[in-house]
Symmetry: C2
Subunit: 394 residues, 2 copies
């Protein structure tokens, strides 16, 4: 549970098969399929019920020629049996006999061992956010612990003689500091550990000592209000005095946000935010959060879970008339756009389809399915690197 | 900081104006605009520098006829002055004189008191997620506390003799419980307080007493594995015995997820999840999380922050050639789709534009702007009720 919302640090490899044994996918009778060959409503075949397979129990007996076991959905298949005939296709007679009215094919209504997850396979790569479905599959694997990325510590300092903390009365000429609380909140919401470095007065010594303290405690330092070229702006000099390489980029061709400064002390990134609050907030999103995501090991720019993406069906996606169908699809890049390829699963028992799938296609109950090549809306199951639309406003 | 990621419970009303005083938007000289009328590079006008206005200080003197004060960006405007002439348009002479080479218009390069937020106005309604920009504007208002919605307590119970907790060795026929950890994670990630009600054995007494305990401690109860019609499924009966109305809906026309049960005991919702893990996970998303969001006061179905939405520009959105421009827009429903209306702001000081705006339009540096009616991609600044595409797969 504590791993939910964190980032996976090592690939999630299946320690065991899921399910760990072959089991019934329906309530019914576990049979030897060949014993039912030829059965039909007009030609029912009688089998002797010699046992019962219950959920959570190992079946004690073997199913032998001409016999069957009563079985519940999820119960382990008894040895000898290779198919399940649903109750609806059986008629119970007296004397421990049952009439089977359909022929079963081998493995019909049986969930094979490992059909969801095979032992040893990698389900999720490092750098993925751990979402609810991932926690569920980790639980299905019996895992109690997952390796997650440490939350990078990002320190945020504001500089300015005019700045006052929230809750304090303003003296004439003062304003409340907004950039530091905003940046701290952005870091925390993006999965970092936000470290408040306070407000420094506008002197080189004060700014330098606060940045130095931040670099000792944190993996990255953000300074608000010290990036422009005015006389009061000591941050670039302070950073340069603390170690190489210092400020590497001062000024980025964006509006707002032009005066932003990007650099490092040793391997620790330092971002100098413009003092103007919109510029500061956008530079947090454009520079601080991507650095944070890089430290976490996730991709840099991403569409969030739940975003909608247009794609074309790579194959027919079957629906169920009368039911709203939630199909799990994998998105594949194709010339001319994205293709949504439905995952082949044996049904609603395949939890890994929610971990491996890129998204859901919701087919309305009025449709029989989506035809190959038809355009669909995919609701993303996981964050995703965004396409060329991301930055292009036009 | 603790409010980040929570849901606002009461409208956020501005207690004070932001900024709390008129201030310089540029470094330069604070002047009486009328004293500069007629100034030009070929006709510079000389003014006497009689003071300095610094950031965080109250200017002591008044600017009188023929005089000006040196002023820094963000410093309060001295009384008497109504415009700022940028340094670039001034030439300092000896003897405390400065030559002004352009005519200033009244309020030029001045940020008016309350231009970002007027005292008393409502910035954000109840039920909104508190995002980083909201925390920043609350800080700008000097607020130390925000009223947030209590996290609804959602209890999750699994039922089944075959279920084992993660970390425990499986005995033959057993499986690890995945639905309960998955539902708990989903609740926690959606802003609820997840309460683990454990695993109940398949008896009416065990299921009933666990649900009863959950109803005492929680605002809603989710039961996994007790919704189908098999002999082992005691959850509907248990719910019915605990109070009215009981299970109201048993079976929803969806696949997977058909056997889901929806009901309540008193006013507390109860959701009976199918045991099949994909069905359970989807029913959590389709029924449990919307109920949670309703209790939190947020909208039920939402596109997440960061999702991309297509819209048409309601007016021209100016860019800045050579700079990537981040325009804040409000999305408005129009016949035939969404319109993106750019917020009129005086520049990068207007933090409220990130709180009031629906999203950002990113204009590439190669474009001069977006023309009225042109199609644009809007990156959402806040979650948003989704359009008709959400459910329609076709």
């Amino acid at each position: 549970m504590e791993a939910a919302g964190r980032v996976l640090a090592k690939p999630l490899r299946a320690s065991t098969a899921v399910p760990p044994f072959a089991r019934a996918a329906m309530d019914g009778f576990a049979v030897r399929a060949r014993d039912t060959f030829g059965a039909a409503p007009t030609n029912p075949l009688a089998l002797r019920v010699t046992g019962e397979s219950r959920v959570g129990r190992v079946p004690e007996r073997r199913v032998v020629l001409g016999c069957c076991h009563r079985i519940a959905t999820g119960a382990p298949m008894p040895r000898g049996a290779d198919a399940v005939v649903m109750f609806e296709h059986c008629r119970e007679l007296r004397g421990g006999l049952v009439e089977v009215e359909v022929a079963a094919t081998p493995s019909e209504n049986v969930g094979a061992k490992g059909e969801d997850v095979r032992a040893g396979e990698v389900l999720l790569g490092a750098g993925n956010d751990l979402l609810a479905h991932d926690i569920a599959i980790a639980a299905a694997l019996g895992l109690r612990r997952l390796s997650v990325a440490r939350r990078p510590r990002v320190g945020v300092l504001s500089t300015g003689n005019e700045l006052q903390r929230p809750g304090r009365r303003l003296r004439a000429g003062e304003i409340h500091d907004a950039n530091r609380p905003g940046a701290l909140a952005a870091v925390a919401l993006a999965g970092g550990a936000a470290v408040d470095l306070g407000i420094a007065r506008d002197t080189l010594g004060a700014v330098r000592s606060r940045i130095a303290a931040g670099l000792r405690r944190c993996d990255a330092v953000v300074v608000s209000g010290g990036s422009s070229a005015g006389a009061r702006d000591f941050a670039p000099e302070a950073v340069a005095s603390l170690g190489r390489p210092g400020v590497l980029i001062h000024g980025v061709a964006m509006r707002p946000g032009y005066p932003v400064g990007l650099g490092a002390v040793g391997r620790k990134p330092v971002v100098l935010l413009p003092g103007s609050p919109v510029a500061a907030a956008l530079c947090v999103e454009e520079f601080v959060l991507p650095a944070l995501r890089k430290m976490l090991g996730t991709g840099e720019k991403r569409l969030p879970r739940g975003a909608l993406v247009r794609a074309r069906a790579a194959r027919r996606i079957p629906g169920a008339p009368g039911l709203t169908t939630f199909a799990r699809v994998v998105l594949v890049e194709r010339r001319g756009g994205l293709a949504a390829d439905p995952l082949r699963t044996s049904g609603s028992g395949i939890l890994s389809s929610l971990v491996r799938g890129s998204g859901l296609v919701v087919i309305p109950s009025s449709k029989e399915g989506i035809e190959e090549g038809e355009e669909v809306t995919v609701r993303l199951l996981r964050p995703r690197a965004s396409g060329p639309d991301w930055d292009g406003g036009g």
